[in-house]
Amino acid sequence: MSFAEPRFLLFLPAALICYFASPKRVRPYTLLAASLVFYWFAGGVFALLVISATAVTVYLTALRLGALRRSDAPKRRRKAPLAACLALNFGLLFLFRYSGRLIPSLGLLLIPGISFYTFQSAGYLIDAYRGKLEPERNILKLALFISFFPQLVIGPISRHSQIADDLFAGHGWNWERARGGISRIIWGYFLKLVIADYAAVPVNAVISSYQNYGGAVIAFAVLLYSFQLYADFAGGISIAIGVGKLVGVTMPENFAQPFFARSLTDYWRRWHITLGAWLRDYLFYSLALSKPLGRLGRVTRRAFGANLGKMIPASVATFAVYIVMAVWHGLSFKTLAYGLLNGGLITLSLYFGPFWEKLRRVTKLDGGRGFGAVFATVRTFVLVVFLRYFARAVSLRAALSMLKRTLLRFEPRALLDGTLGTLGLTAGEYATLAAAIVLLLARDAVAERAVKLGSNFESRLASARPAAQFLLTAAVLALIVYCGVYREGYIASQFIYAQY
């Protein structure tokens, strides 16, 4: 089951009624039962068996790690159960994600959200290994942490310390919280149904037969795809966070106005934040501070001097992280190229950091204010759109060919000669899409300003005049109804990130 399916709109009220009708102590178990029903709808009995295997192995291993830690067992004795459990669960993830590609005769058994819950479970296990949490003794509570239905198929990837107390508290109904939750859900559907699903139409039309289009139309499609992907993923996350709020569970945010980033590193800090934090805490630091890379650092510092030398271990770890991220997105040359390009550009920015700093001083352009800030934001946006060629093209060859057309056969007249009208959207629909994208950017601009003032978007919205709040909600709802319900032949598509 996906948030975009009508049956979710039946499931959610039913789950909420059962949850709030339960006695406080029983509510976490009601939530677990609702999560299992949700997952059963989403992936069938087989998916339930696979997630149960993860819950049981993680539960037992974490308890064992806790016991070993209490008995002051040496690190290497604690490493064995951790490694075995991680290997088993990442093995399952790899098997179900890629079996169909590697051995086509096996077919592809889809386990929805397997990446999200595997990463979340692995984080829990590593935290137990590092002594950062007391392992959960109640297996049903751990099962709820792993399978909590709003985040099950699309994230965010939460840490145990972030949501466990809320999950097990059995919070009752709270109007204030519910209002915040409903507003997040409405915004999420707006992003998905009005922006993502509309933008998908011309994007799919161009990308599937890019050979028929000039560079300008291809660039237009990739630009739209950048908004589509953001709206699709952030929309799903917004619905997940909103549903969580209804039952009193505050999940971590996954996006922080990514299109306002001032550098590629900054962009990745604002995009899919919970995966980025996971990769940083459990992979990047482990690699960069590992003994082999520590030795490499000492050798390179002697060979290349302190500044350059100390960057080399960080660069190696960066490449490793982006390659893992690329493999997570799919096993293909284009995702590998995407990962290597990101890792390469970020490493370059690391090495050229002192040079840019000097240039900024000489030109007196401050990246944090005025023209300097606008320049940095636009430059980053262009870079992000360029990288999206590799994310969206059907193959590496297609991505390179699309880039070649963009650079060598731009043909800008195609943007005005009616070609865009043949891509599946009418002029009115393009106008609606454009207005919706402007609304999204305006919302992010307000949120960006709120963060600078030490607040957040929700607080800013709550302090706005009731009439303004009402008008905004009414406009967003009207657009959802107009675009998502009344458009002829319209069927909401699956969330892009639900395939992971």
């Binding site: 950062k132 590193t265 800090r269 940083r280 630091y285 501070l289 100390k310 960080a314």
Partner: protein
């Protein structure tokens, strides 16, 4: 303490480290800085900052870093 401030100044010369209270939370120190910082701390103070100490609260202020170093047996 002076040595610690010197390491930090070499990473970001323009930051007022002595009075900053949210070095990690406010994004002044990113993960690359933390890696470089921990490498220098290990070398200069003869300690081993383990992964379990890589939490924002240990790196948000100079005092927190000094406290961590003392906990690991360094003399500042």
């Amino acid at each position: 303490m002076e040595k610690l401030l010197e390491i930090l100044k070499s990473l970001h010369p323009r930051v007022d480290f002595a009075n900053e209270t949210g070095l990690v939370d406010r994004g002044i120190l990113d993960s690359f800085d933390v890696i470089a910082l921990v490498g220098e701390m290990n070398d200069l103070f003869g300690v081993e900052v383990d992964l379990e100490y890589l939490e924002p609260e240990n790196f948000n202020t100079v005092d927190a870093m000094a406290k961590l170093l003392r906990k690991l047996g360094a003399t500042l």
